[in-house]
Amino acid sequence: MNPAPVPFLEVDQVSKRFPGVKALSEVSLQVGVGESIAVIGENGAGKSTLMKILAGIQQPDRGTIRIDGKPVEVRSVTDAQRLGIALIHQELNLCDNLSVGANIYLGREPRKFGWIDQAAVNANSRKYLQQVGLDIDPRKPLAELSIGQQQLVEIAKALSCNARLLIMDEPTSSLSAREVERLFGVIQSLRADGVSIVYISHRLSEVHRVCDRVVALRDGQNSGGLSREEISHDNMVRLMVGRELDQFYAHQSQTPGEVVLQAKSLRTHAHPGHEISFQLKAGEIVGLAGLVGAGRTELFETLFGVHPPIGGTVEVAGKPVSIRSPRDAIRHEVFLVPEDRKAQGLVLPMDVGQNTSLPGLHRLSFLSWIDHGKEQRLIDEMIERMHVKTPNSRQIIQYLSGGNQQKVVIAKWLAMHPKVLLLDEPTRGIDVGAKHEIYELMEELARHGVAILFVSSEMEEILGMADRVLVMHEGALAGELTRDQLSEESVMNLATGQKLTAV
């Protein structure tokens, strides 16, 4: 790799502020021609904001972006495209109902006499598909492709716009091991063609394989960089977290109490072919690990009654219960903090107070008549206990930051005295401070005998917070790890379907 004298892309002291958060503060970075760098950082560190700025989705408040040494303004996605920057989102932006070729040329269809020139679409598409190693007919409907192939189509689409820089946001999160290998091969050949790569991933081992250099962000600022030789797991974690892990995750195991939740041969609607059995004791914090699509969220939704189980039994505090709706689950004091807090956890146009009191409102009312005094007292108590930063309880919740929104989602359930708390990605998209508070709250609840089961895609969180870890793979429970068996490797082995090696 010979970095060109003038880097392809230079980001110089870029800052961006959102209501309630300083997302980026004087962040700088450079990418050479054909170079591959990793941008790492925890959720909320500013990675996605930086990428959105580069892709023209958001505009910086301050700072300069230079391409080939010349300052440029990236005001829109079209601008970014013209400058050769393409963002491959974590969630693919393709239309299932159209053909592969139509997707590649969506919005830029070559035309002949005003009609779409289908021959040109197919011929050109084929060329770009081959470049990413896909030997498929461009006329094939996109829906028939696997997720990994669809991702390559997305890359082909970027290449068809003459992209010189590909930003890949968690590109492997839903790929199989073989598809990952293929993607890495494509990345190598693109680099040989002079395409630069910005690679964002939580999987630090991938960073080690794909990238020449690492740029770390923390709390919206540059927190350091690593050269090829310096890239190691410990160095990366140190830059991301900024302190030693054992300080950040102040986890102390409790002596677990009685079994409060027991699943026996539970079959979920998403993976009816697998039976899941496990138990959860009072005061335990148990992690649920696995790759995206392994069935973790589906298991939670079954336990919470969103999708009733296909088979098997659930016992709460030793008694078999039938949970066929969230109301049933709530009646048995099994609560869920859902993965998508905006869609499932909150009523965004309502205020902080009304969201907080929503699940327990019937307890604050007499013959359906709400006791507003009682309600307000509960709300005030919860806002204070959860340290929700809000001007007052009348604030519309969509204007709060992610961390404060998440605190309200948790506050909803705290007021109801949980027996079992299911947390699905509890710290996704929130800043480090709020994250820490949520960890402390989990600890506190466990001390008071609440059984906590949490899903996380962040390895550090799983390793740092769990008493033991259940690992899922393709809808089945692949294994269980006790605290002394826990390591990134042992979790990943189970999550990717390998047997647990001797510890």
């Binding site: 969230p326 009646r331 869920l336 869609a343 499932q344 009523v347 146009p349 309502m350 929503l358 930051s401």
Partner: protein
């Protein structure tokens, strides 16, 4: 609140302008018609508002008016039924139809638009079938029999307010309390905004949705009876045509969002009053061909103004919050 004040002022403005051009507009007779019909339409619009706040829609209200009216007339004329008993029966029938809609929408997950569109067709044709396409008339009998004409033509002594307007006021106050002071109202708004989040909070969203459709059907039924009594005649073909659209329009003008979750009962009442007043003004000024144009444009302007105001308020709030939070950040 600001919106309601504007609507209120608008009522006076329209009145002033029309009365200045056509003095008969301010006559007691004219005012009485407007007041009475605002009452009748308003009850229906409140029903529509419940469904709209729950994030749904009921396109069948007009057909419901025809069916309930026809049944009511037939029960009195052909079955010689006591009118009060007839009322109870047709209202229960209407609520059962609402229950049916609710079950189809919640349990089979059909789209409200489709379900109530079918209702619009079915109920109308049932009305025609029951009445054999004939007008049903003279079921209000001031001479002999039970006189129910007072339900629309009685007036509050001295004040001269017609009973339907009083009924509207009572229904509006009760609805407003239900919407703002009870768990039902809170749940209704929550599920109108975000059904999933409401369900994940343990709210029985199916039951709340079904209730909204039943309330809507009940309100349509009440106004159907009052329309029938007021005219002493129900034509299965004409009765209630397009009334669902007037009801929806009034609700929207009064601040309900068809996306669900928001709406004030006072706004709906004021919205109805404006629509009735406009209608009457157009009749008085004798250019009824343009009625649709005027009403359509007024609603459109109202909705545009609403959107603009919302954006301005939103932008201001964002700015204020950005400042406030940077202060929090600075001090914390």
């Amino acid at each position: 609140m600001l919106k309601n004040i504007v609507l209120f002022l608008l009522i006076f403005a329209i009145f002033g302008v029309t009365a200045a051009n056509a003095p008969t507009f301010a006559s007691g007779y004219n005012l009485d018609i407007m007041a009475r019909w605002t009452g009748l339409y308003g009850i229906m619009a409140i029903g529509a508002a419940f469904v709209i706040i729950a994030g749904g829609i009921d396109l069948s209200m007009g057909s419901m008016v025809a069916l309930v009216g026809v049944q009511f007339g037939i029960l009195i004329n052909d079955q010689n039924m006591d009118p009060y008993l007839a009322m109870v029966i047709v209202l229960v029938g209407a609520m059962l139809i609402g229950l049916g809609y609710g079950l189809l929408i919640t349990k089979l997950k059909l789209q409200p638009f489709v379900v109530t569109l079918c209702g619009l067709l079915v109920l109308r044709s049932l009305a025609r079938f029951l009445a054999q396409d004939n007008k049903i008339s003279n079921f209000v009998r001031p001479e002999g029999g039970t006189d129910i004409a007072y339900l629309t033509n009685w007036h509050v002594p001295y004040l001269g307010i017609p009973l339907p307007l009083v009924m509207l006021a009572v229904i509006a106050i009760v609805s407003s309390l239900v919407l703002n002071k009870t768990t039902f109202g809170r749940y209704l708004k929550a599920l109108g905004n975000n059904e999933q989040a409401a369900r994940f909070s343990g709210i029985n969203t199916d039951w709340i949705t079904i209730s909204a459709y039943m309330i809507c059907a009940l309100m349509a039924g009440i106004s159907a009876i009052l329309f029938a009594i007021d005219l002493n005649s129900v034509g299965p073909n004409e009765a209630g045509t397009f009334y669902e659209l007037y009801a929806i329009a009034a609700a929207v003008l009064g601040g309900c969002s068809l996306r669900g979750g928001t709406g004030s009962i006072l706004g709906v009442v004021l919205g109805t009053a404006i629509l009735r007043e406009l209608y009457q003004a157009i009749e008085t000024l004798e250019f009824s061909e343009l009625e649709g144009t005027v009403i359509g444009v007024v609603i459109l302007v109202g909705v545009i103004a609403d959107e603009i105001i919302r954006r301005v308020v939103d932008a201001r709030r964002r700015k204020r919050e950005a400042n406030a939070s940077s202060e929090i950040a600075a001090s914390g």
